[in-house]
């Protein structure tokens, strides 16, 4: 059977005839090839990628002096084959407010593109033609700024509150402004359906998410997640900071599983600089990341079960999590928002008491996992609430770009630690728990099994850890000029970072492809037909952290 990426490459070269085409090294730059195609060909390209089972991993834009570059990254589950396709949007000395920067939308082909394109529209001013719903995503509706353009050098009224208070009016009448047709229909036609707002302040503690539900009685007809309430401008901030100053950002994106974000950033810059950290560093990195994965899944389990009405497991999970946090705090000094990794090494070596503490912790935790099994997994009420609910099929998963445990619960054994291995994962022995049903129960089951696999990894790492140093010493402060893409398996899915470096001390553009962004998008597919109680269960099962989505 012919190797597929040659097929797509040859198809591109012969049929589409790209304007630029570069073959690249997957290990050093993260992509197999890079092609610039004409604007009117991009839809054809996207259709061909979809036909060959590629999903849209990331879609972003870059601001250059004479044009804007819209960058598409496609990837496949079956083998590492990340491909980069770009289109150019000429600026023609115009301004974004003129509305003349346009590009075709591929949201009819890949559903995940809908949100990516809205984000590019609001940050760069590129208008995507034929987009069903092109309005702002992360910033308030009344914003007039396009922040990620290089010409935007800061908001003059930095913390002007009167502007924000004007938003209050928009918020209370927001529904009338955004959906005028529905409002008149409701007033005149006496329909049965109504709109209910879930959030942004909501007891299901996922953060500040707002879901606008269109309901008929208690049944959901339609759902629209509205995000942006936690936007903390990471990407713009990182463009004016040095690479080292960006470490705290990495700890605060997904604060529950911050170690894997540290890992991703370290892998990216080390790939770009072409350095390899010492072996002891790799083992410690994997150890702390897997411990953090356990802590993150425990927090998820506690809050998910609390959403379903079982209040007690929350306390048990948090108690276990506190033990893990004690172990990590011994070494890093932090409980939650870690920035322990450095380029080419770590901040400091692990504490001498850490490994004995872990050895004591592992058997106790295994016993607790059995308790959770009996208390929750076998409980009949729990099974009735979660089985056959919120089903995500493989086709929907491709279209929405879902990754992580939510994808593995739909029958796809895609885990970057095996598909595109980094660090010492190829030498470790662990399984990828997969389940085929794709319902809420499967996602719960996959995460509980992943906790057992993480324990296995931790046990192996402790046995094999070599002695040595934990730093490479002083590295240059700037990253060589070029484009780099790197992805790691964070607790919620595929965390990708796309770096464009112009050789200076600051990143030129650093795009964060966070897993929860695409995972949350998929609830538009899962929610219609559910009851309100199910909405909460489904939202909990996809495991999102809002600051990661809103960046």
């Amino acid at each position: 059977m012919p190797v597929l990426e040659k097929d797509i490459t040859s198809w591109l070269r012969e049929v589409v005839k790209p304007e630029e085409f570069n073959e690249k090294n997957l290990k050093t730059s993260g992509v197999l090839f890079e092609a610039v195609v004409a604007q009117n060909k991009i839809r054809e390209v996207a259709r061909e990628f979809l036909a060959q089972d590629y999903f849209l991993e990331s879609l972003t834009a870059v601001d250059f002096a004479e044009c804007l570059e819209v960058v598409y990254h496609f990837n496949r589950w079956s083998e590492p084959s990340r491909s980069c396709v770009k289109i150019l949007v000429p600026k023609n000395d115009g301004k974004p407010e003129d509305g003349r920067w346009t590009a075709p939308s591929i949201s009819s082909i890949y559903k995940s593109a809908a949100w990516f394109e809205r984000e590019i529209f609001e940050f760069f001013g590129i208008i995507f033609t034929d987009h069903p719903n092109l309005k702002r995503l992360l910033l308030p509706e009344s914003s007039v700024i396009f922040p990620l353009l290089k010409s935007f050098k800061g908001e003059p009224a930095g913390s002007d509150v009167t502007q924000s208070l004007k938003l209050m009016k928009e918020d209370t009448e927001g529904f009338q402004i955004l959906y005028p047709q529905q409002v008149t229909e409701q007033a005149t036609k006496h329909k049965r359906d109504y709109y209910l707002n879930l959030g942004p302040q909501h007891p299901s503690t996922h953060g500040v998410l707002r879901v606008l539900l269109h309901l008929d009685g208690e049944r959901v007809i339609d759902a629209e997640p509205i995000i942006g309430y936690s936007h903390r401008h990471h990407e713009k901030m990182m463009e004016i900071q040095t690479y080292v100053a960006c470490w705290p950002n990495m700890g605060r994106l997904d604060y529950v599983g911050a170690m894997s974000y540290n890992f991703g950033y370290a892998v990216l810059v080390e790939k770009a600089m072409g350095v390899t950290p010492p072996p002891r560093v790799e083992y410690i990195r994997v150890l702390t990341t897997e411990l953090n994965r356990l802590a993150s899944h425990l927090l998820w389990a506690g809050t998910f079960l609390m959403d379903l009405g079982a209040f007690t497991p929350f306390f048990y999970c948090f108690d276990d999590r506190e033990n893990i946090l004690d172990i990590l705090e011994m070494t890093t000094g932090e409980r939650l928002t870690y920035d322990y990794f450095r380029f080419g090494g770590l901040d400091k070596d692990i504490h001498p008491d850490m490994i004995p503490a872990i050895k004591k912790f592992i058997p106790e935790f295994k016993k607790h996992l059995k308790d959770y099994d009996g208390l929750v997994t076998k409980n009949i009420i729990f099974k009735k609430r979660t089985r056959n609910l919120g089903i995500l099929s493989k086709e929907a998963a491709i279209s929405y770009g879902v990754t992580g445990p939510s994808l593995r619960a739909s029958g796809v054994p895609f885990d970057l630690r095996r598909a595109e291995p980094y660090s010492i994962y190829p030498e470790l022995d662990f399984n990828i728990p997969t389940r085929s049903e794709g319902d809420v129960y499967s996602r719960y089951w996959v995460r509980m099994k992943e906790m057992e696999e993480s324990l296995k990894i931790i046990a192996q790492v402790i046995e094999k850890m070599p002695a040595g140093e934990v730093t490479l010493g002083k590295l240059p402060k700037n990253v060589p000029k070029g484009e780099y893409y790197s992805a790691v398996e964070s607790t919620r899915g595929l965390f990708g970072m796309y770096l464009i470096s112009d050789g200076s001390l600051n990143p030129y553009r650093l795009k964060l492809r966070t897993p929860s962004f695409s995972n949350l998008n998929s609830i538009i597919h899962m929610l219609p037909g559910c009851l309100i109680s199910d909405v909460v269960a489904v939202l909990g099962s996809i495991d999102i952290v809002l600051p990661e989505i809103d960046r």
Binding site: L149, M168, T205, H233, E322
Partner: protein, 214 residues
Amino acid sequence: MEIKETLLTTDTQSLSPVSGVANFFKVEDVFNMARANSLWPLTFGLACCAIEFMAGGAARFDMDRFGFGVVRPSPRQADLMIVAGTISRKMVPCIKTLYDQMPAPKYVIALGGCATAGGPFKYPGQYGILEGIDKIIPVNVYVPGCPPRPEALIAGIMELQRQIKSKEVKGTMTQAVVHDSQDNRPAEYKNAISRVEFRKPPTPPAAPSPENKS
């Protein structure tokens, strides 16, 4: 920058003190003792500090021992708003609405650096966050940290309890309209570079291999 302090005490008149024959409890004292010992927080987590808030209510740190463990989801039934996390501009009207919906007497704790003054997300020319919740609602206690440990949160609430019992409850607000971001460092904004320049291979070019064109 002016700091305007508003006194948010709850008693309107005091009874004249009588000593010697009988020891009177002022009714307001009893009310304040009751209010201090029965603070009901609102479930309101915005970002990372919310996790430490949840950990504070969990089994190891157990805020319920002191009486403030009954966390109510509805603002009508809560009297303490713990603003935990960064406040984005989009969230400002929601916070103001929630604060207005809480019945008096109500208290606010700013948890963490972000709610106090913007935290690590304050940079010259920032466009997305509100630098401190005290720009729109009066804050009684500031708890610093990023994120503060749950013990720090409990210490903050106990400080609020002390303030309520001794009738020193002060709500602090800072001036709302500021024309620059409070971060005055010189900003390193760069102009857009030319794509053509960017695509040129670095000079001097090493032996060009077909795989490493940049």
